[in-house]
Symmetry: D4
Subunit: 148 residues, 8 copies
């Protein structure tokens, strides 16, 4: 059994690397959005031409990123969504809703401060973790039955 | 043609009332979440019994609210999601993602300050409006072909 | 908003009547299996001819009942599954699984004794109640926002 | 043609091993839940933290197990559900309902004592077998056309 | 509960009338193909212009009839397929397969002579009846729980 | 049986009126796009604000129109797509492809000049008509079995 | 591009071998039902135990065969259904309907004598061929663009 | 992550080759319709027999081509639709609608002259490009995060 896992959300800490490193040796295929913030913001105009209006600048980029994001979520068995300490992170919550509507197994990863604000997202999840090591332990348990 | 419209998101201003009032006479059926903040927060424990742990207190409530939210979104032709000035509003973004994955026509309603942070949500929408009157004008146009 | 509710499971107590009575005045359409135990057991052979073998006697009946059960579950917004004190009740758990796979909002109704044995069913539910009055309160809250 | 087969249900006898051994040489990929009873019961709290309340202890575990169970059932062509002599086994019946709603080919495996109680589950199945050797024979016939 | 029932198959006896008459007073909505044999054969060329080649004459007609047939089957809860004594009736078996793939509740109606030849169709059905009165009894039981 | 029919395509002749008039007395519910060319072109900027760039001017309008178009096609049993003598009419072909992918019964309406260019669209249709009167005859036949 | 092709229908001539031989060198994966008539008829009782009643004898066998048939059709890109000169062949027409409802590309293979009786099946097909060599030519053209 | 990309539309310039060449080294699997114009027009009659009527000549060919086209679009993650300078190209717009209804990521490729006429198609797309090199840049960015 290969588990396909999409890692959505926060791009400013190394939580993806921690999970990918921790899951070495497990039969997992990871995917993720482009995590280079500048590339992600500017990809639309860099490829398809400049826009005078910031809204359309962002719009073109967000749509290019959606090609990758949707592919990743639709192919995934498990979608992990990480909410960090900063920014609005509405795209993370959007991905969580998108994954939930497709019936994906959802794991939400956030600190205790966000507990109340994320209650609707957590309610749709099969696990709510606080740190990346727990996500690794979940993947190991799901694939092998081993507990930490 | 009856248009079923679900009004998701912010519960602290009267934007729903403005839209419902403005759409009087149009063939629209509106639905919405429970907008009484306290009832929404406490419904789980009020009905199903108290919880010592805040996480489960919230969890039980969020799940009861999901019965209504999912029914509303799944039955809807159009989902309007309002982002206000305050709070994290991750449930609004979650609803937007959920609606997008189901192929619903999405209208996002927010002020210009949130433009960059909502670019992924806006990219999935068929309209991005700044005030409730525009949403009414969209509903009128869609149903009757009349422009303001 | 009309809520379509299917009442699955135990047929030896009056829990369905309690819920239907309690929900008077709410915009709910209830459906349920045939609850006459003998008719339910014998419908197949009574209509389609006797069987020498008990397996096929039961098989013909179970399939006729499935016409009603599937219609009820597939049309429902909410499926309530009641586990009573007696019998194996595998059909109740089967209905719960069927409803879960279709993405229905699931409410499970059982006493505390069955908690551990029903943990997988409960984990797929949006509410776990212990008595029919709580189910009524949930339906009222979902439809009107009123708490008990 | 590779047949993907999920083996659901009883975890206290060696029926899975009998099927897997018997099917050696056939083009079958098997999957199954975690069958270590203690790990399965405690995985939630072992990874995500202890719970004072037994309901939530079980709830966390059942949800982690659901990540594996749903993946297994959704990927499967054939779902075999075994009902043993002991315990309520509602999770087995739940899996059967889940598989049936997804249109999976269902094989139910149980002794004659459970015949009447399982009639609704059997009615949704493409085969009802009494011992694991029959399941192997079915898999062999389906893949190769050979009869015992 | 309104049951939508599509009556597919043989058009040379009055079995549809028997069922519709027998079901008077029950909450059933019936639909059926055009049962005027000549109109059904010639509708394509009568409306869309003559064809020199019999294949295309038939083709145009069969496609117009498919507009009605698909609507009837897709809207139905229950599809009754009648196999009479004469003709190939491949369209009846085609409808049965179409209905089965959509997950409709299938009732097959045929005499004992056809039992072996229809075994694959019967295997997909929830009931196999020999005369129209049994179909009426099934509909009555499904809707009201009453046995004959 | 009510037939829901969406009338897509050309907006410069009165073919919709001919069909709607001809179908008087039949149980048909028609829907259609906004057919006021100027309103259809400018609705986006009229409601949501002017755009300097013609691409975005058109984009905003096309998306508002999509709310109505998708609702119409998704609700329809039958989609009629009319190709007139002028313009590119790519939106008509787009609607035909959209309807075909959803499994809608497709009727294409065009003159003989377009036969070769529309062969792929015609190949997905259940009827290819040359004038609106034929469409009316099809609807009458499908609903009542009457031929002209 | 690998094309998965299911070969349904007649089992008394060597049409499958002709197609498989003819398609050597093309990127096609073929599947088919069990074509040993006796094994196909008796598989149910041979594995799951004898039945006194011919109906249930056939029923058990037909259901086991359905495990293979459904897997074959559901995995296929193209379903070829062959109608021979003899027998009722209702299972072939059933498979055609099943495949059509799933949106599979359908190729029907039959002689000119059956043209009128198969008009509804042919109307759902993307090709109607008279001999196996034509099916091979279709597969070659679809995969390589080469014409005979 | 392998990206499956279907290249639909214009067959008279070398845009497909430009994209395929440009994407060398990227993990992309391309598919496309048969681009030999004569073979594409005549495949139906070449394989299945001549037709006196041009409509049926074209019809048979269009349906054979649909076997390949639907397979290509349904398997794809991304559908690129190219509109050239000549011809009606309704099949390109049909493919775009078909892809949109299936939720595929759509990239439209056309010159500025067609902007207004393609506004509905562009509105359903995640990117609108003017030359094949931009499509390559999009594929590279989606797969690797690299910008030009």
């Amino acid at each position: 059994m290969t588990l396909k896992v999409y890692l959505s959300g926060e791009i400013h800490t190394d939580w993806r690397e921690q999970i990918i490193d921790g899951a070495k040796g497990l039969d997992v295929e990871f995917s993720a959005p482009v995590t280079d913030h500048d590339a992600s913001d500017d990809c639309g105009v860099a490829i398809l031409g400049a826009e005078a209006d910031k809204f359309w600048h962002d719009h073109k980029g967000a749509k290019l990123n959606a090609i990758r994001t949707r592919k990743g979520i639709e192919d995934a068995d498990v979608v992990v969504v990480r909410f960090g300490d900063k920014y609005k992170q509405w795209n993370a919550a959007f991905d969580a809703g998108y994954a939930a509507a497709l019936g994906k197994s959802l794991i939400v990863l956030h600190g205790p401060d966000h507990q109340h604000a994320l209650k609707e997202v957590d309610a749709a999840a099969l696990a709510v973790a606080e740190d990346p090591a727990q996500v690794v332990q979940i993947l190991r348990y799901v694939l092998t039955g081993e507990l930490p």
